[in-house]
């Protein structure tokens, strides 16, 4: 009974953490002399209030979900990929190059090629830290963060120089952006809103990632390596290879997110000098969405929608109750901090429960069937 309550509590923990974050946000709103109920009503309205609002939420959720899918793979393989931002950028740059180069080809072919090259670009950008970790024991958290910095500078260089919009090149302003993609290369819209095919692709990929992780040899091995590299090696699995693959696939999904962002929303690349100027921090928020979804690809779908809604709704809220835009960032940050901390807390609790269960087991009759079923329920 207690164990069932425990697992229910664990499942609801991200929701509780989100509510707690919103409660803290409410206190801040009060300090700013804003009615929090009014503010949160505006937030809800902005995210889900109309078909347009809903579409915007889903548009924002799409890159989050794609990044989150990659995170599900890498975290399951016990590799921490913080390089989603850089991988998105490289994927986007490569995809944009495809769209600007092969202008004579049919639209469907260029879109396919572009999404594929986005996937590939991200894979390379994730694969490099993967190889460094697997064969040279370089900490992947550090290397992926550094790869982010390199990707940003590469983007800035390309968009100011080789890839700059020819019309901008002649102007004095020289806005660092590429030319706009041909209309036939845009991802098809799904409704008379900004909602595009990318959202559908992301959901389909979520199902594919689920199959990958639990129905294929590759997924089995990635999870095995993530859970216990010793036993994996013993079982004959080449551990380093699957460390690389986990990071590579993770990067690939982020790269795809970048490509989808260009072909579905922006139709060109433009930089303000920072990574988030292009990604909207989806490379980081995707991690939160994946954790929120318990690193499960299918649960990552609602998790991504929630964060998409927060992003879109917050804008409406800002306009409606006149709070500084920094507060929106704070609110997002609060949700991230609360959810990530709750996840860490959940793991510790689980560890303690396991430890005490072990303790009891070692000092009691081992083959007691009731004891096992009791523990199994946890």
């Amino acid at each position: 009974m207690r164990s069932r309550l425990n697992s229910l509590f664990d499942a609801l923990l991200p929701v509780i953490a989100t509510l707690a974050a919103l409660a803290v946000g409410a206190v801040m709103l009060l300090l700013l002399k804003v009615n929090p109920i009014e503010a949160y009503a505006a937030l809800w309205d902005g995210a889900f209030g109309s078909s347009n609002a809903l579409a915007e939420t889903l548009v924002k959720a799409t890159p989050l979900l794609l990044v989150a899918l990659g995170i599900c793979i890498s975290f399951r393989g016990d590799v921490i990929n913080i390089g989603g931002e850089g991988q998105m950028i490289i994927g986007a740059v490569l995809a944009t190059w495809v769209g600007l180069t092969f202008v004579g080809l049919p639209g469907w072919l260029v879109i396919t090629l572009a999404l594929f090259s986005g996937f590939l670009g991200g894979a390379v950008w994730g694969g490099i830290p993967g190889i460094l970790k697997a064969y040279f024991n370089v900490n992947e958290i550090l290397s992926t963060v550094m790869m982010n910095a390199i990707a940003v500078q590469l983007m800035n260089f390309l968009l100011r120089g080789p890839m700059i919009d020819p019309s901008q090149a002649q102007l004095a302003s020289k806005i660092p952006q590429t030319a706009r993609l041909l209309d036939i290369f845009h991802l098809p819209r799904l409704a008379p809103t900004r909602l595009h095919l990318g959202a559908l692709i992301a959901v389909m990929l979520a199902i594919l990632v689920y199959i990958l992780l639990w129905r294929t040899v590759l997924g089995y091995r990635i999870r095995a390596v993530g859970q216990n590299p010793n036993a994996s090696r013993y079982a004959g699995i080449k551990v380093p290879r699957y460390v690389v693959l986990a990071l590579l696939l993770s990067g690939a999904f982020a790269g795809l997110a970048g490509a989808v962002q260009v072909y579905g929303v922006n139709y060109r690349m433009i930089t303000d000098g920072s990574a988030s100027g292009f990604t909207g921090s989806a490379g980081f928020n995707g991690i939160v969405a994946a954790l929120f979804g318990q690193l499960h690809p299918l649960w990552s779908i609602p998790a991504s929608i929630l964060f998409g809604a927060l992003l879109v709704g917050a804008n409406t809220m800002q306009r409606a109750v006149q709070v500084p835009s920094a507060l929106i960032t704070v609110l997002n940050g609060l949700v991230v901090v609360f959810v990530v901390s709750s996840e860490i807390w959940r793991r510790r609790r689980q560890h303690r429960r396991l430890a005490s269960a072990k303790e009891e087991e070692s000092s009691t009759k081992q083959d007691q069937p009731q004891a096992q079923t009791e523990e199994a329920k946890q």
């Binding site: 089995y220 859970q227 699995i237 000092s363 009731q370 523990e375």
Partner: protein
């Protein structure tokens, strides 16, 4: 009683300790069910039982690590409350844990002083401590140098440091938790000498063990626990090993499994002067050679840490062989990838089953195919065949009597014995040509131990070549056809079981050839 009530250590002795009606419940389990237990000055009272019988629970209650749900503890007929190890130490109760609680980089004196207030306030008083250690060592006949670093000491010496530590803290009653598990036969004899001396001096000792011959040799009374209940207490002189074993298990126990006739065949596994490093960078194996044939069990005896782990890992490809060759059925498999060696039908039951042999977060089914998941019928074209895996798992669960709620239960929720059955099932069901079994029964209760041993013998009789690494001499003697003794990364000798005796193996395990040993004694 004419003798004084003061112990040689200067502490007042405990005349009697009694635990009455001790009951301790854990969720779903009654770990201790109205157990009565007592110990008197000048006796060794053995506590005997299988894993999970409630021995540890009872002693943890006495040492203040658990609080009982019911029952009381009486010290010299007065009720006492023990709510922490500090309380028990203050009452004169000491415990020698199975795993030593020593800091290897500190000296003996520093270890003894650790955690105690110094007589000089913020400054240390190690000279006082050293002097006291020397005094205690003289009184109890414990040879120990207070200035030696613990990492320099042998396991037996480290155990003496633990005993000194307890005596220094004024222990009158000592709980010894499986103290012989890590010792060579010679070291066991020395420990027993010390224990006898302590008993003569008026200490009370509680001796926890599941080795019957030791219980019979050292104890005055013996109490048997089973399933958290006390089966009975008797003077040791009025019992036999067979009685105690039957008490412990609750049924008739055959000690030495029927090994059947041996049909030794061709050489399956052959090692030619293998050398490799250890995790510490020191030499792990220093030129090991032997053959294992079809239809035989080669036992590898030795005190832990003499290269057994390195040996198993070098053969299975988990550790790099720096020189020498390993042949499997005549083919050179030296330094092949572990997967390639596995695929040549070499099975390995690893020593640390939870660390190496199992993935705790995986289900039983997923663990069952750890080795074969990439082959038909468990997968096809890169996709797992969940139905094939399930059918295989259900068959093995039944065949190997794994107690689990379902095949989708996570491995972490199984007991040690059932985990080992899963490993065994997985490794044996492949019909391997060679089986490496490292400490296959360590930590298992008698029932599970018997089962594992029977399975190994059955594999041998079916013609597999079995290499059994064990620190348990009884096990080695019960199962092996030939016995190789490993000491400091070298094989001291290989002897047929018919002529092997525990004394002879004990000397070899300590690095002494029996002939030399005889000469030294003369």
């Amino acid at each position: 009683m004419t003798e004084s009530r003061i112990l040689p250590s200067g502490k007042t002795r405990i005349e009697s300790l009694e635990m009455r009606g001790i009951t301790k419940r854990f969720p779903g389990v009654l770990a201790s069910d109205h157990v009565n237990f007592d110990v008197k000055t000048g006796e060794v009272h053995a506590l005997l039982g299988e894993n999970g019988a409630g021995k540890s629970t009872l002693m943890k209650i006495l040492y203040g690590l658990y609080r009982p749900d019911e029952g009381e503890v009486l010290l010299d007929d007065k009720p006492v409350t023990i709510s922490s190890p500090n309380d028990s130490i203050n009452l004169g109760i000491g415990m020698i844990h199975q795993h030593f609680m020593l800091v290897p980089t500190l000296t003996v004196a520093e270890n003894v002083a650790l955690g105690l207030p110094s007589s000089r306030g913020v400054l240390t008083d190690l000279d006082h401590v050293s002097k006291r250690i020397v005094d205690l060592a003289k009184i109890y006949g414990l040879k120990i140098d207070p200035d030696a670093y613990v990492w320099q000491l042998s396991v037996g010496q480290q155990q003496r440091v633990e005993i000194i530590k307890a005596l220094y803290r004024g222990a009158s009653l000592l709980i010894l938790d499986e103290p012989t598990a890590v010792l060579t036969p010679q070291e066991v004899d020395e420990l027993f000498t010390i224990m006898n001396q302590m008993v003569r001096d008026g200490h009370a000792l509680i001796f926890i063990s599941h080795k019957l011959h030791e219980v019979v040799e050292i104890s005055h009374r013996v109490t048997v626990l089973r399933d958290g209940r006390k089966i009975g207490t008797r003077p040791t002189s009025e019992t036999t090993k067979q009685d105690l074993a039957n008490w412990m298990v609750g049924r008739e126990v055959g000690f030495i499994p029927d090994r059947g006739t041996q049909n030794m065949g061709e050489v399956r596994l052959s090692l030619d002067t293998i050398k490799c490093g250890s995790d510490r960078g020191t030499p792990g194996l220093r030129g090991v050679s032997f053959d294992v044939c079809s239809g035989e069990i080669l036992g590898i005896a030795g005190v832990s840490g003499n290269g057994q782990r390195e040996l198993a890992e070098a053969i299975t490809g988990l550790r790099r062989v720096t020189s020498g060759k390993v042949y499997l059925e005549g083919q050179d498999i030296t330094n092949l990838a572990p997967g390639d060696i596995t695929d040549r039908m070499l099975s390995y039951i690893p020593e640390e089953r939870m660390r190496d042999g199992m993935i705790k977060e995986f289900t039983i089914a997923e663990n069952m195919v750890l080795r074969e998941h990439h082959k038909q019928p468990y997968s096809r074209n890169g996709f797992l065949n969940l139905r094939g895996i399930a059918a295989h798992t259900d068959k093995l669960i039944q065949q190997f009597q794994v107690k689990t709620p379902s095949r989708d239960t996570h491995a972490k929720n199984l007991s040690g014995g059932n985990i080992q059955k899963v490993v065994l099932a997985r490794e044996i069901s492949r019909n391997p040509r060679v089986i490496l079994a490292a400490q296959p029964t360590r930590g298992l209760d008698i029932g599970a131990t018997e089962y594992v041993r029977e399975q190994l013998i059955e594999q041998r009789n079916k013609g597999a070549a079995v290499m059994l690494v064990s620190e348990d001499l009884d096990e080695i003697l019960a199962l092996s056809d030939r016995i190789a003794v490993i000491y400091e990364g070298q094989v001291m000798d290989i002897v047929p079981r018919e002529i092997a005796t525990p004394q002879m193996l004990g000397l070899l395990m300590a690095g002494v050839h029996p002939e030399e040993g005889a000469r030294v004694v003369k």
